[in-house]
Symmetry: C2
Subunit: 403 residues, 2 copies
């Protein structure tokens, strides 16, 4: 069985050079920074909400350079924007080739560099790749362990491209992996769709299973919200109950990593939609019924406190980059923030996470997404509750005397 | 919102006239009957196993008329056969038009009449529609309650056609139902497939939701194994937590009916595949996390003892039809069987069911599907364990002195 491992895309294609102007005068306000959730705070589906464009512009100077250090801290992210593709087509060959590439990955599970291009276009401000922290971003920390191991990645978009751009050299999508095993999905013939991968099913692939020659899967990564739940739950059960080779039986379960654990999130539909946490519950409940040893897994993303520590470090780097450019001096060592603001719409994810992270995090809950109540959330009360992200930014700038 | 309700297909198209010869001499052996499971006993995927063709021929006279009353008792059924369609194309216009119809429903969740045509062709014997009892067959008993109510049906194949042929007049498939609500499936844009229904999404359909004009769903039927688990779990949660109108909130849950509850079954893949019971577990675990009131549902199909009582009645009718044709007299009133044999491969479904049904059921467990052990099953030991269905039939005919 030969898997085609993805080649990382040349960074030159993904990261526009960082203009020094982007940091001019950033250090004037180095005592605080802001982390924004995206779905239900900045966007609903593909549309900006709560005057998010106007709110974000207040964090830049008139010249368009960054004034307040901020980043986006998102678990899942439901945007699938096609307008933008049409807009960029007119910008000539280089932009076109770049943005065609972007388009092909617009729909979830995409690298931070492409998210930055996407958000810059929709929000009308210059977003840097380092300002986009997704649920799967911490997977980079596992590179040392799995860089040259055979791993499987699943989720909407192109999870294998995301992982290969993090540096994982032997990653295949679950789409492709499943296509090597004939009849592994018993309802495949009822699915009237074409997957990215042509089916590799053959007598040979059957032989591979039966003779146990198949590569052992060393770890599985759920990078973004799974699309084909039934197929994914079946194949994940096959991999995880078999020690990495469908059709075999083993007590050893390869490690399973989730980019997030959101039960629900606010997308374009009027009521909340099921997220990666719901898929995790479905997989876990089925797995634990067919396998004696309970499913073991690790969830990254909010509310994991590590995500907030990581955000603090990145905001510090933004500031240091600025300092290296000679714009002020925040003092020796890594810059420390007096206050970091987390603006989110989900008490169980954004507010709980900020509370667990502790100092210097200050939580602001908006009523523009999952949370809609008049009073504060009872289980995870935020430090402040406002209607929109614009209200939140207005409060912060006034409190920090930075308007 | 206008739903297109299916028109029942003229029975003349589906049920070939019953030849009197089909029953000749049936009453010679009226003291026993046989119920066969299909997947893992008679077929694996589309292929006969355990010499099932030869075994079944022993239940007919040389003239092809039925000698021993038998039927198929199946929950899920994984066959998707395209060979047959090619074979029947040569049989002229009437057969062609009929069998084209069959072809369009071959893949699961199809009426008993078409199953009978399908099995007759593959097994080389004349199977009558009344000899095919599927997991969803008992849904007919709910006709009085829902005949004119708005209901939703889901599962592989054409669940709405199955239900409309049972007589339900206002049934729509979940495929079509979901297509009326824009953005109800947050990962729809990542699915590279075309559903049977064109999307009905429009501003109007949104209005229907927001103004609460949508029809209330009075009941949901899971007719066969769901194909799109993620979409189905999301939409079922929407319907069941809202009292029948997605986007609303209600404590009243419309009734939910499952045709079966098989956790796993033996299909074409070397190891078992997840069945309708696994989907039920996934749905239930997610529903119970987002809704305070636990999910309420009813499962038909084996091992439900009602299914075995129903099978006993049908076998009795087979015999009575024979008696009406003047072939012997089993005595006054409904014929009673000394022994009814259940031949299955799944201890938790076939054997447990036969045991719960009690007299006159005798359970035979084959090693050709889910069960593969040398010794009898510990939790639900069968009355007899054999390797194949051919061994089972040989045992029965010898025991009944009917070979």
């Amino acid at each position: 069985m030969r898997f085609r491992f993805k080649q990382p895309v040349p960074l030159s294609l993904l990261r526009p050079p960082l203009p020094a102007s982007a940091f001019r005068s950033l250090s004037q306000h180095s005592s605080f920074g802001i982390a924004f959730d995206i779905d239900g705070v900045i966007l609903r589906g593909a549309n900006p909400i709560g005057n998010s464009q106007r709110a974000l512009r207040r964090l830049y100077n008139d010249s368009g350079s960054l004034k307040i250090p901020f980043l986006f801290l998102t678990n899942a992210y439901s945007l699938c924007d096609t307008r933008r593709f049409m807009l960029i087509l007119i910008l000539g060959h280089v932009e076109l080739s770049c943005c065609c590439f972007v388009k092909s990955h617009l729909c979830g599970g995409i690298p931070e560099s492409r998210r930055a291009l996407e958000l810059s276009d929709i929000l009308g401000v210059k977003i840097l790749p380092s300002q986009v922290v997704q649920g799967h971003s911490p997977f980079k920390t596992l590179l040392k362990r799995y860089e040259n191991e055979f791993i499987v990645a699943t989720g909407k978009g192109e999870p294998d491209v995301v992982m290969s751009e993090y540096g994982f050299k032997r990653v295949v999508s679950l789409d492709e992996y499943a296509s090597y095993f004939s009849n592994i999905d018993p309802v495949a013939q009822y699915k009237r769709w074409t997957t990215r991968q042509e089916s590799k099913c053959s007598k040979n692939s059957d032989k591979i299973i039966h003779q146990g020659y198949s590569k052992k899967v060393k770890a599985v990564f759920v990078v973004s919200d799974p699309v084909d739940w039934g197929r994914d739950i079946q194949v994940l059960c096959d991999i995880l109950t078999s020690g990495g080779i469908p059709g075999e039986k083993s007590w050893h379960q390869p490690p399973l990593y989730f980019a997030a654990d959101d039960l629900q999130y606010q997308a374009a539909f009027p009521s909340e939609r099921l997220g990666m946490g719901a898929f995790r519950i479905a997989l876990e409940s089925v797995f634990n019924r067919i396998h004696e040893k309970p499913l073991e897994l690790t969830c990254f993303g909010k509310p994991n406190p590590l995500v907030f520590r990581n955000a603090e470090t990145i905001l510090g780097h933004l500031l240091q980059s600025d300092v290296r450019r000679g714009n002020g001096d925040p003092g020796p060592g890594s810059p420390s923030f007096k206050t970091l603001y987390m603006i989110g719409d989900n008490p169980l994810v954004d507010i709980k996470g900020a509370q667990q992270a502790g100092h210097p995090w200050f939580s602001i809950l908006t009523r523009s997404g999952v949370f809609r109540q008049r009073e504060n959330h009872t289980q995870y009360p935020a430090d402040l509750v406002v209607d929109t992200v614009e209200d939140a930014v207005a409060f912060i700038l006034k409190r920090e005397d930075a308007s």
